[in-house]
Amino acid sequence: MSGLSALIRPRWQSFKKEGLGVHQTAKKIILLLVGFVFWAGIFGVSFRVLTYFQQIEELGDILARKLLLMVLVTFLGLMIFSAILTALSKLYLSKDLNLVHSLPISSQKVFTARWIESTVDSSWMVIIYTLPVLISYGVVYETGPLFYLEILLSLVPLSIIGSAVSAILVLAAVVILPASRVRSIFFFLGLTALVIIYITFRILKPERLADPEAFISVLAYLQTMDAPSSPWLPSTWTFDSLTAALRGDVRNVLFHSALCWSGAAFSSFMAIGFAQHVYFKGFSKTQTAPGRLVSSSGKTFPLPRRFFSGPMRAFITKEIKTFWRDQSQWSQIFLMAALIVIYLYNFSVLPLEKAPIDTIFLQNLFSFLNMALASFVIIAITARFAYPSVSTEGGAFWIVLASPISIKAFLWIKFFIYLFPLLILSELLIVATNLLLHVSPFMMALSTITFLFLIPGVVALGVGLGAAYPNFASENPTQIVTSFGGLVFMMISVAYIGVVIVLLAGPVHHYLMANLRGIPLPFSLKIWFFVTFFAALALNLTAIFVPLRFGARRLSDRY
């Protein structure tokens, strides 16, 4: 046990020392506030849904039970998915593993220490954001303290089971495949499952619930499905213990809790036992460089010298080659593609013709809203690719510092590298959604021109703030985005888009109304259009120049 606690201690000590400075405290307070808003939002929605269910006679409880079961199955699924990625990093890819394995300690103990860390890391957030849903059950059903105690007593073993299952899957997979590739494969599989679930859900058309006739048949269908779920699923044991606690049935609570905890103990025992035989074998295999899925072609990009400076050509070539050769980027592209497919699909199924409002007005209204929504999609993509672009230089950033270009020039190069693909993507997205909405030529022109000016600002914010808050030590771009700087980027980008959209909303609304009523455009509206256009243009230019300058200054100050 002494070896085990010694292995866990550095992590605990680092945790205690994290964020001792004033700046760190301020960052934490902001993150906590944002986190709490989300938490409260989940609680509010859950509370509303459960209160609504309670108003439906007979079926309300069934629906609430179904929802609880779905929440717990999702919890287990998320837990397994998250723990697979964490366990892979902790057990096979962390930089300190060579040091840890060189210590006079058994690989089984190393596994156990790392698995405990992985369980805590992958479960805490899932638990925290499941709590508001479960607490809302307690509030709506007016239960006693037993239920709230049982929430913790049942979620912890469920997390342990999920993490143990993930560890067993990872241990088995790494014996067959190199760890770096296993991560990509699991990510692909997880995302594919998510997209399939979403599309299946969409095909079921839950909006039919809004139709009173269809609602009755759907409820009747749900009622027939109220059969007990598989007794082999750990989420069912948690479900049974929680529903027993909701009823105040102490005997059943004890029985099902015992089932949960014995399941957790058994799965932990299995994972540790399995690790004893295969963990070191897999770790050893990870040390050898994996064969690559894509060979290095050595082809160069014929970028004309007249249009591109030497450093620009060098960075464009480097970024493109590095991007395609890094398998971890593929899963991200897949994730973004899934996001876009879902986004476009939602537009294609909008029942505009059934709406009680004038279709042309509604189409234009949706097109306007679509500008904001599509911008959020682009923010997400910028956050994932442009924001970490400075940090992903990593230890090799010395090459940039030592090369004869200024940091300002380096950031402008990064800006242009990411601007063109993101601009093309965003224009395609807005044109495609506008075509699906059958909008007027005016709205088509307005949205494409707005994006032409808006996207450079978003990309500059991404590159500039990414440079202002770099994390050269991180190997994972996703981790870079979820930092304080990433949050600042998201917040400023959303505010920036919000202001531009609000600026445009007034004149566009009056223009549409005038068109709808068939009256000519008043002179004052034309003036308003010009003022709005120049105000938006000034804002866009500010959004381009200020963040890049800020990023260059902050980055230079570090050295």
């Binding site: 080659k321 090459i399 050295y559």
Partner: protein
């Protein structure tokens, strides 16, 4: 060629480099030695333009690094101690990448890249990804890329780390030949034997301060160690400084 004027670097309350003044002339091979944490790497990083000094200035071939960093950096080939590179590029692609920054033309690049990669024993691995290279191979690649644009000044931090005996001998001979043909070389090292065997002058830094500078003979004289080697002189000088 390299002039350091009152060069100072402070990190909060710690002064890593303290008013360092030094001048290195054309074709000189200058050795920079000192105990761990003495300020060697910080000095190298300031000379290479990787770090801005808190006070003082760095002049490269008469160009102020703070005022015209791009112009100054074009005259330097920097070789850091830790070979962080773009792992997803091949060795040859990395050479092409570096060439773009120094206006190396196509013909010159093709000739020099092949010659340098062969010289550093990387010709058979030039089209493999850097991530598959060993530490020593990465170090050799950095050296190749630093020499690609034929800079008049080479700044090296711990050149022998990760190199095999053949590599060490090759680098030692190369530095000597380059200095003879007019290249200025500033080399920071822990390997006192290397400094003793190839350097024209040696500077000793301790606690951020330059405590001694001169030829081997001058250092021995300053340390009062008679005919002993550099190691003895180094220990004597750094010990005296510590006790003061």
């Amino acid at each position: 060629m390299i002039k350091l004027k009152n060069l100072t670097k402070r990190y909060d309350r710690i002064t890593a480099v303290d008013r360092l003044t030094l001048s290195i002339s054309k074709g000189e091979l200058f050795g920079f030695i000192g105990p761990n944490g003495a300020g060697k790497t910080t000095t190298i990083r300031m000379i290479g333009g990787l770090l801005a000094p808190s006070e003082g200035a760095v002049f490269i071939d008469g160009v102020d690094m703070a005022r015209e960093p791009e112009k100054a950096k074009k005259r330097i080939g920097l070789i850091p101690d830790r070979p962080f590179l773009y792992e997803k590029l091949t060795g040859m692609e990395f050479m092409c990448f570096i060439a773009e920054f120094y206006d190396v033309d196509r013909r010159h690049l093709e000739e020099n890249a092949d010659r340098l990669l062969t010289m550093f024993g990387l010709e058979n691995r030039a089209h493999e990804l850097i991530e598959s290279y060993s530490h020593g191979m990465k170090q050799r690649l950095i050296m190749s890329s630093a020499l690609l644009h034929e800079p008049p000044i080479i700044v090296v931090d711990e050149p022998m780390v990760g190199l095999d005996p053949r590599g060490i001998k090759m680098v030692r001979d190369l530095f000597r030949d380059m200095a003879r043909s007019g290249t200025t070389i500033f080399v920071s090292t822990h390997t006192l034997k290397l400094a003793e065997s190839i350097c024209d002058r040696i500077g000793i830094i301790n606690g951020g301060k330059l405590i001694a500078v001169g030829t081997m003979e001058q250092l021995k004289k300053a340390a009062r160690v008679g005919e002993a080697d550099l190691e003895e002189a180094f220990l004597q000088l750094t010990q005296t400084e510590a006790s003061e």
